[in-house]
């Protein structure tokens, strides 16, 4: 039983990382229906910017986090302007290929600039381990978990309660109608990218601290997992991304803990496919009737 609970903790802590990345993924998707393959790489950029701000500029963590989020957010907007905006009227698959191009570009540009070596993150957050009824927690796990929850709530508030959020929701439903209603579509989309990218950056810096290692390819696998998490929970739905992230973290840990690590990805995908077959728009997704 103790082992099971410990594995639950392990699972939730991985899950909160997936959830953090998935939040930005699902948000960008919700607004412009773009599978932003480069999102995982924005997370990588966030980790690098965070590392540079902590090591080169000697910023304390409380300043490094917002600084990283701003820098990466701006980068996200620039990428959107240059690479995605010209394609807004094209097919979605063309935009997808562009996103793949952006992803390759970011990976290789960072690899070229920073070198392919592994960088390590200085321990800016204290990591203390403490026991609680025989269960082991550490402060970094809790920090990540709490950050994920807080960011999700914040995001939910922005989307549901603010004027900007209303603009986002209207753009998500119908861009042309939103335009007619006086919503500045371009600016709303830019803002979405800014928020989405800065969320990824937050995830990047936290994960950088937690695993204290970063490399140019670190974004690809978690990015893919986060996408799966977002689809799992119902893509475009903010709490869905959260649930999806935690679900995948837990499944992976339980398969590793009680079966074999080698099959954990396969099990995740099998469960994903089953979920989609039973509920084609994800756990929290609404099934829309097709109309002619």
């Amino acid at each position: 039983m103790l082992e099971f609970l410990q594995q639950m903790i392990n699972g939730l802590s991985i899950g909160s990382i997936y959830a953090l990345i998935a939040l930005g993924y699902t948000m960008v998707y919700g607004i412009i229906k773009l599978i932003n393959f480069a999102h995982g790489d924005m997370y990588m950029i966030g980790a690098y910017v965070g590392m540079i701000s902590v090591t080169t500029f000697k910023l304390p963590f409380v300043l490094a986090l917002p600084a990283t989020m701003i820098v990466t957010g701006v980068l996200g907007v620039v990428i959107e302007r240059i690479a995605y905006r010209p394609l807004r009227k094209s097919t979605r698959v063309a935009a997808l290929i562009t996103a793949i191009g952006v992803s390759f570009f970011l990976q290789n540009a960072v690899s070229r600039i920073m070198g392919a070596k592994i960088y390590t993150f200085p321990p800016v957050l204290e990591n203390r381990t403490f026991m609680f009824y025989g269960l082991r927690f550490n402060t970094q796990q809790i920090a990540i978990f709490v950050t994920a929850i807080l960011l999700m709530i914040l995001l939910q508030v922005i989307v549901k309660k603010t004027k900007v959020g209303r603009a986002m929701r209207s753009v998500a439903v119908d861009q042309d109608a939103a335009k007619l209603m006086g919503v500045n579509v371009d600016r709303t989309i830019s803002l979405t990218f800014a928020i989405g990218s800065s969320l990824a950056a937050a995830a990047g810096i936290l994960v950088g601290i937690y695993y204290n290692t970063i490399n140019p390819l670190m974004g690809f696998a978690p990015g893919l997992k986060a996408f799966v998490a977002a689809v799992f929970g119902g893509i475009g739905i903010i709490p869905g991304a959260m649930i999806g992230g935690f679900a995948i973290g837990l499944i992976e840990t339980m398969v590793s803990g009680y079966g074999s690590t080698l099959y954990k990805d396969a099990v995740v995908y099998i469960i994903l496919i089953l979920v989609l077959i039973i509920k084609p728009s994800g756990l929290l997704g609404k099934n829309r009737k097709e109309k002619v």
């Binding site: 998707y29 229906k33 599978i35 620039v78 302007r81 240059i82 690479a83 905006r85 010209p86 394609l87 094209s90 097919t91 698959v93 063309a94 935009a95 997808l96 290929i97 562009t98 793949i100 191009g101 952006v102 992803s103 390759f104 570009f105 990976q107 290789n108 540009a109 690899s111 070229r112 335009k179 500045n184 371009d186 600016r187 893919l224 996408f227 799966v228 689809v231 893509i235 080698l262 099959y263 990805d265 396969a266 995908y269 099998i270 994903l272 496919i273 989609l276 077959i277 084609p280 728009s281 994800g282 097709e290 109309k291 002619v292």
Partner: protein, 344 residues
């Protein structure tokens, strides 16, 4: 449409194909195509086959698949396993046939439930299928796990490669132009309307998917005998993405477009080889720039027709596109819009 196979159009294509074959064969024999260019040429051929086969699924039928490399790996491993005990052409063909059968079976099992999904959900499900295939291969004894199979006999030759490229494109073109293909195109255009017209959409979607998987497994078999070594990671999501890039780049729905895209990307990869690390950056930028300027792909949805090949307009348009590309018109527009606040 046409009731005789040997009409003028098909005959011209046949003559073009055959003369192309002999031209390359001649160039190889006199040593103009050196062994190195031959390797590049085989890469182009393999990815042309893969691109065309995925195009049948994505471009013709409109079903988004991100797991194509999985079917390729089935073919590659079947061929490699059979070649271990029969290191000759018979073994290769037997292995490819077995791979094709397994691929057909797996794709059918996978397609029936998953093809009910739409768009991005289908994409992620097929991605999952590709990964599952990879993980299963990774954990099997006969496939030798992560180490993969090495020392696969090198049996590839230009006639063999050409034969498979030719039949893949020909079968795919026939698929597209047949009644089945037209049903598939109608599904792509509007699934509900096609259903209302009495088309059994599931059946045609599954058929297209199985057809694509079959061809991909053949390409996998050829891959195994061209590159000596296969490993599960060779056939991961990255490879599926590479194939997808070829399809979109060439133009979705244009089979000849995929072939052209494979050639263009193969040459880009080759020409920039001495640049080592810079190559991938240039490749990435090329993808972005080309998609911005030609989001519909090189050939759009149209096929390279004989008329187009012999028409001046084609080259005029290509030149126009090239000028656009050099002057970076669209880019300047996009960049200029940065910082401009209010736009309606």
């Amino acid at each position: 449409m046409k009731n005789t196979f040997l009409n003028k159009k098909n005959l011209t294509w046949l003559i073009l194909g055959v003369s192309f074959f002999f031209l390359i064969q001649l160039l190889i024999q006199v040593g103009i195509i050196t062994p190195y260019y031959r390797v590049t040429m085989y890469w182009i051929c393999l990815f042309a086959i893969l691109g065309v086969s995925l195009n049948v699924i994505i471009g013709v039928t409109g079903q988004f698949s991100l797991g194509h490399a999985g079917f390729m790996s089935i073919g590659a491993y079947s061929a490699a396993v059979v070649l271990r005990s029969m290191p000759n052409l018979t073994g290769l063909f037997l292995g490819m046939a077995i791979g094709a059968l397994i691929s057909l079976f797996v794709s059918m099992v996978v397609a029936i439930p998953t093809l009910r999904l739409k768009g991005d959900y289908l994409a992620i499900a097929t991605l999952g299928v590709g990964e599952i295939i990879r993980i299963v291969i990774l954990n099997m004894k006969i496939t030798n796990g992560a180490s993969g199979i090495s020392n696969i006999p090198y049996l590839i030759s230009w006639p063999l490669m050409f034969f498979f490229v030719f039949i893949s494109i020909m079968f795919s073109a026939n698929f597209k132009n047949s009644a089945i293909g037209r049903a598939c195109i109608s599904i792509k255009e509007d699934e509900i309307a096609s259903e209302a017209m009495g088309i059994n959409t599931t059946k045609y979607k599954v058929m297209a998917f199985m057809f694509g998987a079959l061809i991909a497994s053949l390409a996998g078999g050829l891959y195994a005998t061209t590159y000596y070594v296969i490993k599960p990671e060779t056939f991961g999501i990255n490879n599926s993405i590479n194939i997808l890039v070829i399809v979109v780049f060439g133009g979705m729905g244009s089979l000849t477009g995929s072939a052209v895209a494979a050639i263009v990307l193969g040459i880009i990869n080759n020409v920039f080889q001495p640049l080592a690390e810079w190559r991938m950056i240039i490749y990435a930028l090329a993808l972005i720039v080309i998609m911005i300027f030609r989001p519909q792909g090189l050939l759009g949805t149209s096929e390279a027709s004989l008329k187009a090949i012999f028409s001046l307009d084609t080259y005029k348009n290509a030149l126009k596109g090239l000028i656009d590309l050099v002057t970076l018109r669209k880019f300047r527009v996009a960049v200029a819009s940065i910082g401009k606040g209010k736009q309606r």
